[in-house]
Symmetry: C2
Subunit: 595 residues, 2 copies
């Protein structure tokens, strides 16, 4: 099937004189999750992970994906004659290096300009030195082949009340405009959906797991234009935007709007989060300041109301996960339970929470060697059946009225070897060391990453992904501008951690074919101490779920980490036990006992 | 005196229609140390630290310096109506921010273009937005005022034998040319003296503490030109360069050479380490690739011969320092000894070593509160007299045939409070944690810095400088391209640590008016482990000098650090004791005993 689709694509490429066709994995807004409409890369390759780019030429088809998906991609690509290129591995060429090495003078690179980020196009232009190369971004070849392609989603938006948003549109746009002035730009063209939702205190439902609506905004010192699908709004929403002085235009009209735009000032545009199609309407016409959307940094620092809501929601979410662990280890009949059913069960605990709206990403419930695939997703049929042995990794989260959650625990179901427990202990130590870090204001995630990684590096182990990501407020489970990771990339501007930011703390061990361990808490960055001219920051956990002591070899843990684990578990018991049944409470006391 | 000098300068500025005159602290080559000829900034301000820039206008004189010198600068500037600007402190404007805010349309900024780095000029041009600003780099006003200005030094160079250099000129220039090809440049213009010495296996004596000769080089794929003072060479050296196909021209002829240069390819030029005067001869004429000299990264990775020599020299140097500590704590009559004399004594122990050539920087011997000044230098007359109390910080190093050393110990002379010992312990823990780090290849110093700083940050303390610097081989005690520090600066390209690099590891505590603690080992970066696709690096200490156990509160030290300290001290005893007198040996056994 994949082969015949690739053949159709190649025929069409010939027709259009395209030598290389690139199929990225994103939608029009570089969203992490995409509706079926945008699953072209999966349609043509079979690979279902969230990140990957397919490059098709006359002879070859190649897929690039990152460390989270190496194992999964290998499986899913099997038999389809698609080569896997492991991103960031030594000696593996990047897509652009591959293209640069294989393209010949005068050849044509094609793509759908609406799903290709402008920054990638710019990089491509830089990287490919061969002469006479042409780019054609106007052809969505996918559309011509994919007959049964689903519809573009269009769901009603909702307006956040001030007591949930914590800041009015006026306050947010004022801050944005103040920063625009400082940056020296007269307007921002924003294509990043969570930024638009945040700015206008709205939420949508057009992207899986991300409560966002397909939209664009163009905002100047005085005016604001929102481009959104007509049917996403009712009269109430039209009136809301009118009251806020936001001009509503239809979603597709952005292209015409930009084509006809007369604007003398600079425009801020984040080419990493904006399509080539949008960028090319603006380029050459106004001076583009290519940098991260200002909204991204404003959004990352949660306001007081948001923090209050988050604390309450994370507590409820932690209770749900704790109840799930009790159920799994104390009540469930493991021999008749598979991964998919266990995932359904944790989902059902979340659904019982009043404020529950959706899941924040597909629940990962991975048993034994499946957990070595960082983003494994169990299927309803044929997923592994659990046993009273090994470990189950559960990474899950919810979207609630009042917050977005994300938590991972690796649950020991029975006997595990001491070598596994050594790695489990190091993972827990890494998580604790980052959680208890005290650091000077100005530090970025690159300064802190080693705290989480050192216990594993000391064992000669590494996880092939970052240690942590920012998290939205009733928005995307992954957000910037900050991150916790170690690798240096000159082209990426680092952003310091600031009080009010959320960040995940999730070191892990992934041994292909054997097992996976990940322990993840969500942390709130807080001011820790001011002394002289120094301001120190630290973290407070929002997640309060027991960490499985059966995975830990106490004699391998440092005294200070042991002490921190005991303190954390004491907090878990104090915060969670009031919401438990008596039998659950007795159990929690036991599983949070001091080492 | 300072005031009258500033007045003369201001009169001259009026004459030349200069509104702001900038006096940097460097020589023609951005050397860290400078001969008296280049001490114009000190001449006009009184501030004697190694880093600082003076800005003089009609009304104001302002000095910028870094955290190492805040206390010293405050003292030295007193009474001269020169404002101190603390670099990198919050809310303190940089020199350029200050200039940008205070300069008016049409004003003129003057400087001696030969001592102003090209990169600073470029930054200045970017930062100052006022219209009609003029720059004039042709006037060395200093020269017109400073009548008794000393001569430019001109000392004989020496040629390193292959068994000391470890690599021939041919091997080095071949590597350089290979990298030039990869970088796409046809030539390098190198103004950085230690890079030139390294490349041509020569050493000089024109800069204090840096065994380098004033010179420039222009090297293409086929040719190499060395610009050097005539009197620095004898016939033997002329013949040496001739044999190596290096064309020798006089030092000053570089300007004419560049003026008349006809060259169609790109030229690599490190504008951070090249003067405005040189840069402006080349700019507009060839395409300049502004990046770090390739020689810098080649030089940083020590070859096998260098490493062998270094190990042997560091051992001898460590013996000298250990003998000094024995003498100071067991034999000296402290009540009749001042800082300057103690410094002379450690210098004399080094002088006894056969391979000794010079000191690698001015010995720092700072008692009690003087040690809070990071780069305090005791004067012959009036320096503090020691007592059987408090601590003496000794930071010193030598230039040897076979290596450049640098080591700091803080020696406890008598009773110290527990609060001092808490900070001393944290400093030692930080030093040990970095020394024992195991990390993935690709890490830069920014990933590792927190290992040294965390124990101090946990106490709410910080040191206002980096944790570590690279070290030359019979060259500058400070060299790049790598460093260990935490602060993010977008404009600075980080360089990963690689096996064969040297780096210092020197956390500290500096409490103004109270005391200073610094413990510094020099580390050799080595490959630690290869597992799967991962290559882990680590460090081996080259320094083997006891760390004063009287400063340590064992109950405040983690078990793993205690263990590492004991291991280190065990090595110190094994390596150093064979070179000691019996009484010294007994003492060393005691001061390196396990905690």
């Amino acid at each position: 099937m994949i082969k015949s689709r690739l053949n159709s694509l190649r025929n069409l490429m010939k027709e259009y004189h395209i030598d290389f066709y690139i199929i990225p994995s994103t939608d029009y807004h570089n969203s992490e999750y995409v509706t079926k409409y945008f699953c072209a890369r999966e349609y043509f390759s079979g690979f279902s992970g969230s990140n990957g780019t397919l490059l098709v030429s006359d002879k070859n088809a190649c897929l690039w994906t990152d460390g989270r998906y190496f194992i999964q991609a290998k499986k899913e690509l099997e038999g389809n004659k698609i080569m896997l290129f492991k991103m960031q591995e030594a000696l593996v060429p990047t897509l652009l290096e591959y293209l640069a090495a294989n393209i010949k003078e005068g050849q044509v690179i094609g793509f759908d300009g609406k799903v290709m980020s402008a920054s990638f196009y710019k990089e491509m232009n830089e990287a490919i030195k061969a002469e006479g190369i042409m780019y054609t971004g106007g052809h969505d070849l996918v559309h011509e082949i994919w007959k049964e392609r689903p519809q573009l989603p269009c769901n009603k938006i909702s307006i956040l009340p001030d007591e949930i948003a914590g800041q009015t549109i006026f306050e947010k746009t004022s801050k944005l405009r103040e920063k625009m002035k400082k940056t020296g730009v007269g307007a921002c063209l924003i294509s990043k959906l969570d930024d638009i939702m945040w700015l206008y205190n709205i939420r949508g439902n057009d992207v899986p797991f991300n409560p966002v609506a397909l939209s664009y905004t163009f905002i100047t010192d005085k005016q604001a234009f929102l481009f959104i699908q007509k049917n996403a709004l009712d009269l109430e929403e039209y009136q809301y935007f009118e009251k806020e002085n936001i001009t509503v235009l239809t979603y597709d009209s952005i292209f015409l709007f930009l084509k006809e735009l007369k604007f003398n000032e600079k425009v801020l545009l984040d080419t990493k989060n904006c399509s080539y199609a949008l960028f090319s309407e603006l380029a050459g016409k106004v001076t583009i300041i290519d940098q991260r959307n200002i909204t991204e940094e404003l959004k990352a620092i949660k306001n007081k109301v948001e923090i209050e809501q988050l604390k309450s929601i994370y507590l409820k979410d932690s209770v749900a996960v704790t109840k799930f662990i009790y159920w799994l280890t104390q009540e469930a009949d493991l021999s008749s339970l598979n991964e998919w059913e266990a995932g359904q069960k944790i989902d059902s605990f979340r659904k019982e929470i009043n404020e529950f709206l959706d899941y924040s990403f597909p629940t990962i419930c991975a048993y034994k060697e499946n957990a070595a695939m960082m983003h494994y997703s169990a299927k309803e049929y044929g997923s592994s059946v659990l046993k009273k042995e090994g470990m189950l990794l559960v990474d899950s989260g919810g979207q609630y009225l009042g917050g977005t959650t994300d938590v991972t625990r690796t649950i020991v179901l029975g006997q595990i070897s001491d070598s596994i427990r050594i790695n489990y202990t190091a993972t827990v130590e890494g998580m604790l060391q980052l959680m208890n870090a005290k650091f000077l204001k100005g530090c970025t995630g690159r300064n802190l990453d080693i705290l989480a990684r050192q216990p594993l590096w000391n064992l000669g182990l590494d996880y092939k992904c970052g240690t942590g990501h920012g998290i939205g407020y009733m928005l995307n489970v992954h957000e910037g501008p900050h991150t916790i990771s170690w690798r240096y990339r000159r082209e990426i501007e680092e952003y310091p951690l600031e009080a009010g930011m959320l960040v995940s703390d999730e070191p892990g061990v992934y041994l292909e074919g054997e097992y996976g361990i990940r322990i993840e808490n969500i942390l709130l960055c807080v001011e820790n101490q001011r002394s002289n001219d120094d301001c120190f920051l630290g973290f407070e956990p929002l997640t309060f779920v027991p960490i499985d002591l059966k995975g830990i070899l106490p004699e391998k843990m440092s005294d200070s980490n042991k002490n921190e684990l005991n303190k954390y578990h004491n907090q878990v018991f104090l915060k969670i036990s009031p919401y438990l049944e008596p039998s659950e409470k007795v159990w929690l006391k036991e599983v949070t006992k001091a080492l």
